[in-house]
């Protein structure tokens, strides 16, 4: 429910209550005013008639019997209310009546009754409720109109803030730029959000810098470790102890893994930093062939057949290092998650690059395959950064990246659509 709809509901309840109360007050007020007015008029008529009788003139003949009657018989004196049948309308009409005793000089007293018709109850009620309904309708129409205007105008800054928040991307490294507002609440909201995003950006920046620095600074000690371990492996003394050399070799392998991990993290943070501006026209088909040839020993070792379907396409403006990394990681992924005797199929067209391979069904949400340190097999020695790098490179160039699994033949396909593809956004920003 919109905030304004909720507010309107309360306005409506309040208005209905006020309407009932107001109608009652109005009804009672009008009735009392009419009655007072009638009493005053009757009293004036009484004075006029008493003067006339005191002057010795006779009482006028009654014309309208209902409104003026004279009787020799005593009647109860003073004001009273009565209902009389209106013969023409055929309905009972409330009347105000005043009875007094007129005593002319040398005449027997007479009892005079004056009557005035008051407004009929239902008519009064109709008039009251009717006018109140008109007021209520005007009020409601006014409120709705006002709110429509307010939501369009007063709430515009809020809508703007909301749209900015929805479109906010932390990787742009920019805090939110929200304008000030004349409305205090919105100004405070925008200020709080801007501050919040600034803190977010600062945290993100420091994390990113930390990663980049850590990745860079560890390379030197790693280089020392690796070189010295390699020298240790050359020592003739190792031959005397059969257990020592494999230990050192494992240590060497671990050092190498660590350094690769840092290189991958460094690459990721450099892509995020946008440090790959230089782009040259690249023939992707040639690059795919080159990469496949480079990986041939790995393909052979697993008995995998490469199928390259490379359509001639115009060269693409890419950073050579990123293009290399993109192809390498896609192919490597297809090799690693393959089955013995399987194949690695690459389709390259002017619009997309598709790498597919047969492989066991992978459980889990495909969008999460692109997360960092995501491994299919937890015991795997791969750090699980390959597809993250692919994703980052695609995001960097605005390529769509999508993953599909075809149960028939159990084929996994990764598709890079040059230019944002239809399936791209789903995974690209996951």
């Amino acid at each position: 429910m919109k905030l304004l709809a909720a507010t309107n509901r309360y306005y409506l309840l309040l208005s209905a209550g006020l309407f009932v109360l107001g109608s009652g007050v109005l009804y009672v007020g009008i009735e009392r005013a009419v009655r007072d007015e009638m009493s005053e008029q009757l009293h004036n008529n009484q004075l006029e008639l008493e003067e006339r009788v005191a002057a010795g003139r006779p009482l006028p003949e009654p014309v309208y019997r209902q409104q003026y009657s004279v009787s020799g018989q005593p009647r109860p004196l003073g004001f009273s209310d009565t209902l009389l049948l209106d013969p023409t309308e055929g309905s009972m009409v409330p009347h105000r009546q005043l009875t007094f005793r007129a005593l002319g000089p040398g005449q027997p007293p007479v009892w005079v009754t004056l009557r005035k018709s008051m407004v009929e109850t239902d008519e009064l009620l109709a008039a009251t409720v009717g006018s109140m309904l008109v007021v209520l309708a005007l009020l409601l129409a006014g409120i709705v109109g006002l709110h429509r205007y307010l939501s369009g105008r007063l709430w515009a800054p809020f809508q703007h803030t909301l749209a900015t928040l929805r479109g906010y991307d932390l990787q742009q490294h920019q805090p939110l730029a929200l304008p000030g507002s004349k409305i205090e609440e919105f100004a405070e909201l925008n200020q709080a959000l801007t501050q919040f995003s600034r803190r977010l950006v600062a945290d993100y920046e420091s994390l990113r810098e930390f990663t980049a620095n850590a990745a860079h600074e560890t390379q030197t000690p790693l280089a020392i470790m690796q070189a010295q371990l390699e020298q240790l492996l050359q020592l003739p003394a190792l031959a005397t102890d059969a257990a020592a050399a494999p230990l050192l070799a494992d240590l060497y392998g671990a050092t190498r893994r660590l350094s690769r991990l840092h290189q991958a993290l460094g690459l990721l943070s450099r892509i995020e930093n946008g440090q790959f501006h230089a782009a040259v026209p690249l023939d992707l088909a040639a690059l795919v062939r080159e990469k496949a040839a480079q990986l041939a020993p790995l393909l052979d070792a697993r008995d995998l057949t490469p199928h390259l379907h490379l359509a001639a396409a115009p060269p693409r403006q890419l950073h050579p290092g990123l293009a290399d990394s993109l192809l390498h990681n896609l192919l490597h992924n297809a090799i690693r998650h393959n089955v013995p005797g399987g194949d690695v199929t690459v389709h390259l067209t002017a619009h997309a690059l598709e790498v597919s391979n047969p492989g066991p069904v992978v459980s889990g949400d495909p969008a999460r395959f692109f997360e960092r340190f995501r491994k299919h097999n937890a015991a795997s020695e791969s750090p699980g950064l390959g597809l993250s790098i692919v994703q980052q490179i695609c995001a960097y160039y605005g390529f769509g990246l999508s993953y599909t699994f075809a149960p028939a033949g159990a084929r996994h396909t990764l598709r890079v659509a040059f230019g944002p593809g239809p399936g791209g956004a789903a995974v690209g920003r996951a």
Partner: protein, 225 residues
């Protein structure tokens, strides 16, 4: 063969010097830009191993100075900077090759060999190891004068071993050399075994036995006896 190693990290410097001397090189060292600049101005080297990030200057300026002097020395850039832009800049300025830290010393040896071979056109453009003779320019191998037919990868492997005689080569180093730095630790290194087995068999058929030794759990070694 005289080399200049420009490297500011003392531990890495001493390890590399030791390894290079074992490989039969005469090695001089420079710990910073100033020392390195003096040495390249005063002496002649066959090859300069150049670290780009030095405490008092940029290694690329040393490269420029070498090229300005028309120095015949080969230059192998060694840097922790993995940025491809550095690599391109280095190669554009006339460096012969580029190696990213951390690297395998055996890979360094192989690159160094290749640079020196390319730079020395005169005379001995062939390698001799025991009964093996290799003409790298023609990619030809002979065992006691008999031609040996090898696949591309087997030939690469042999050349790599020949660049590191007597050194233990780790599986990682061999795999990365053969696959151009594109394998990682998660891959099985079985394929090296296949290539080595085939190479050994071909050598044996020509009567070259026990050239390649398996170091259990570590890697392989080209044995000189």
């Amino acid at each position: 063969m005289k080399l200049l190693l420009v490297e500011d990290e003392p531990a890495l410097r001493s390890t590399l010097v030791e390894a290079l001397r074992q490989g039969g090189y005469v090695v001089e060292v420079a710990a910073d830009f100033t020392q390195a600049y003096e040495k390249i101005k005063l002496y002649r080297y066959d090859c300069v191993l150049l670290d780009l990030t030095l405490p008092d200057g940029n290694g690329l300026d040393l490269l420029r100075a070498l090229k300005a002097d028309n120095s015949p020395a080969g230059v192998l850039v060694i840097s922790a900077r993995n940025g491809l832009d550095d690599r391109v800049a280095g190669l554009d300025l006339g460096a012969d090759d580029y190696l990213v830290k951390p690297f395998h010393i055996s890979e360094l040896n192989a690159r160094l060999r290749a640079i020196i071979r390319r730079r020395r056109f005169q005379g001995s453009n062939h390698l001799i190891f025991r009964d093996l003779t290799v003409w790298p320019d023609q990619a030809e191998v002979q065992v006691r004068g008999e031609a040996l037919t090898l696949t591309r990868k087997e030939y690469d492997l042999l050349l790599y071993l020949l660049a590191n005689p007597g050194r233990v080569l780790t599986k990682e180093a061999i795999a990365e050399h053969l696959c151009g730095d594109s394998v990682d630790a998660a891959d099985s290194f079985d394929f090296i075994y296949t290539h080595l087995k085939n190479l050994r068999k071909k050598l044996q058929e020509k009567g070259a036995e026990n050239y390649i030794r398996t170091m259990y759990g570590v890697g392989y070694k080209l044995s000189s006896e």
